[in-house]
Subunit: 417 residues, 2 copies
Amino acid sequence: MSLIVQKFGGTSVKDLDSIRYVAKKVMMARKQGHDLVVVVSAMGHETDRLEKLATNLCAHPHPREMDVLLSTGEQVSIALLSMALVDIGCPAKSYMGFQVPIQTDSQFNKARIVAIDEENIRRDLKAGFVVVVAGFQGVDENGDITTLGRGGSDTTAVALAARLEADECQIYTDVDGVYTTDPRTVPDARRMSCVTFEEMLELSSLGANVLQIRAVEFAGKYNVPLRVLSTFVEGPGTLITYEDNNMEHAVVSGIAFSRDEAKLIVRGVPDVPGVAAKILMPISDANIEVDMIIQNLGDDGTTDFTFTVHRRDYDQALKILKAVAKEMKAKSVVGDTKIAKVSLVGVGMRSHAGIASTMFKILGQEGINIQLISTSEIKVSVVMDEKYLELGVRALHDAFELHKAPVQEEYPSRIRA
Amino acid sequence: MSLIVQKFGGTSVKDLDSIRYVAKKVMMARKQGHDLVVVVSAMGHETDRLEKLATNLCAHPHPREMDVLLSTGEQVSIALLSMALVDIGCPAKSYMGFQVPIQTDSQFNKARIVAIDEENIRRDLKAGFVVVVAGFQGVDENGDITTLGRGGSDTTAVALAARLEADECQIYTDVDGVYTTDPRTVPDARRMSCVTFEEMLELSSLGANVLQIRAVEFAGKYNVPLRVLSTFVEGPGTLITYEDNNMEHAVVSGIAFSRDEAKLIVRGVPDVPGVAAKILMPISDANIEVDMIIQNLGDDGTTDFTFTVHRRDYDQALKILKAVAKEMKAKSVVGDTKIAKVSLVGVGMRSHAGIASTMFKILGQEGINIQLISTSEIKVSVVMDEKYLELGVRALHDAFELHKAPVQEEYPSRIRA
C-alpha cells in the first residue's frame, strides 16, 4: 500500500462526464489499497472565463480580489469530484487551500507556498477518505486567499507529495507522457519511459509544456518521484527521475523547439564596459523577458549585441532599443520575428564531447544556416530561419536515433501493490 | 456618521453593469461618511446553475460538498464588487464567511449562525475600507464551509447588523418596499413607510416574499432596524419597526394571498382521541408541510378533518391519506387544488374587535363563499375558490381603505448624517 498524489488538469475535468470518469479512475486506485490525495484544476476554460469577467469589469482588477475570484474555479471542481466519488461509494472529502492549510506568501496572483500543514489530511486519509485538494490556491498569514499563478495546480500536487512523502506524484494530462520531441512535427517521436529532472526543466522551459516548470523544480528539490500520464489512455507515462541513478542514459534525450521568439540586434555599439547593462536594463524594466544573449566583438572597436525575446514583446523591445541605440550612438538596430529555436537536451551531453558539432554538421548538411548558438551543460540551442524548423528537428531526431529506446531505460517504481 | 449594513440580492448583481451600478451606490453612501458593510448574493441565477451542475452529476449530491460548490456563487460576487469599488477609488475588501468568521452549526445546506467575530471587520472599517461580505455562507467548528439555505443572504446581513449594532440594515431588492398587497393584483396598493416585525412575518410567510422569514425573525429578536428598498429606484422603501413604538397604527396593514395551496378533507373520521395525529403523522413523515388545520365535529359521532398543503405536495399527500383513511375506516378522502388563501394582517387587529366579521361580510357581499377560516392574533385567513382571488383581495383592499396612508406612519431613522 502506497500514498499517491494524483493531479488532474482542466482538460481532465472539463465536464460532468470527465469528472465521472476521473472519479472511477481514482476509485480504481483506491481499490488497489492506495491512500490517495487528488489535486484538481478548474474545469476546462473556467479560469479564462473568470479572468475575463474581471477584466471586463475593470481595467486593473485588484490582485487580492482577483484571487478570491479565480480560486472559485478549483473550488467548484473539488466539490463536484468529491460528490462524484461519494456517489460511487468512495468516501471523499474536499479541501480548499485554506482548509489544508497550504500557507503561501502574500504575492497575490503568483504566490509561493511556504508551508503545508499535513495534520488534517493525514487524519482524513487514516479515516479512509480520498482527500480532494483544490490546486492553484493557498492562504497567506492574514487569512487572505492567494493563487499560485497559471499552472499552479502542478505545484500544489508536487508540494503536497513532498510534504506527505508520497510514493509518487502522478500528473494526469491530455498527453500520455513526455516525448523525444513534438509528435505533430516528427511522427516517430518516442514517449520516454523516464527523463531526468534537469532534462525536464530544459524541455519544458524550451516549449515542451507538459509540466509547470516550478513544479518540476519543486519535485527535484524535494526528491518527489513525478510521473506524467494520460487521463484517458492507459499507460505507464513518463517518470521524471533523479540524475544520480546509475542507469545507462542516452546522450541526447529530446529535442525542444519554439516558434515564439524574435531576435533583436544592436549593431556598432561602442565596446566599453557597462554596455550590456545599458541595453538590457530598459528591456527588463519594461518587464520583457530576455532569453538568449550573444555579444560579438567586431574589428573596428565596436560590438554587435544580439538577444531574443518572446515574439509578443518584439515591437515594444524594438521601440525601447531604438531610443537606447540613439543615446549610446550605436550604428543601427535590426530585428527578425521569423526565427525559431531548436534545442538538443540530454544529461548525457556532459560526458560526451562533440554533440554540438554533430548538431551543426547535420543542420549544415540540410542547408540550414545557424544564426545564433547558445549552450549549457545539458543542452545546445540554435536559432534558425523559421521555415527550416520542421526540417531541422526531423533531421536531428533521425541523426541522434531518438526513435529508438535506450538499452535500459526503466526505472523502478516506488509504488507497492 | 452611522454604520450601515447594505444587502444586495442576486437581481441587483446579475451582470457586470449591475455590479458597477451597485458599486456607485455604495460609494455614494460612503461619501456621506457612513461606515459600510455590504452583503451580496450570487449573481442572478448562478446558484441555480451550480445546483443543476451537482444534480446532473449525481442524484444525491453530498451535503458537505454541495456547500463547497454553492458558496462559490457569493465568492464570485464579493470579488467582483470589491474590484469595482476599488476601481472607482473606494477602498474595499471582500470577506468570505470563514474569513469573518461567521460561525455556524454543521447542518450543511441549512446551517444556522451561532456566532460572528466582529474583530476583523471592525479593524477594516476603522482603516477606511468598505467591507464586502459573502452572504449565505459560514464555517462550522471543523472549518467546513456551510450555507444557510435559500435566501440566507438576508440572514447574513441581519446577523452582521445585529453583531455590529448597525444603525440600519438595508435590504436592496427589485421592489421598492413592502406593499399593502400585490400591486399587480390591486393597482392602488400602497407602499407602506413602515410595518411591524410581526406583520412582516405574517406578510412574508403568507406569500408577500420580499424578505427571508428567518432574517425578519432575527431582526426582531435582536432589535435590528431593517429597511427594504429598491436597488434601481430611489426612495425611502419600507422600514420594519418594533411593535412597541406608540405611533397610531392602522387596524389592517396589508393583505397577503397565495395560490400555492391545496385542500384535503378526510370525511367521516371516527371521533376518538388521537385521530389528528394518526392523520398528520404520515404527512409530516413525508416531509410535507401542513398550513391550516380545521376539524369539525359532525352529528353522527364522526368528524371531518381538513388541512391545506403546498400545491406541489398535493398528489403525494392524497396518496398517503387514502391509505390512512382506509386503515382508520374513514368515509372518504377528497381534495381540491383550485383554492386560494387570502389573509388580512395587522397588529391593530388585537385591539379592534370585529375585523374578522367585517371581512366575511365584505366577501359575502361579493358572492364569495368561504371554505376555511383560520385566525391568529394579528391575522385572519380564509380559503376560497381560486377564481375569486383577485375580486376578494380588491374588495378587501378597498373596504379597509388600504390605499390611504395612516395619519402618522413615519418612523424616525437611526441614521445620522
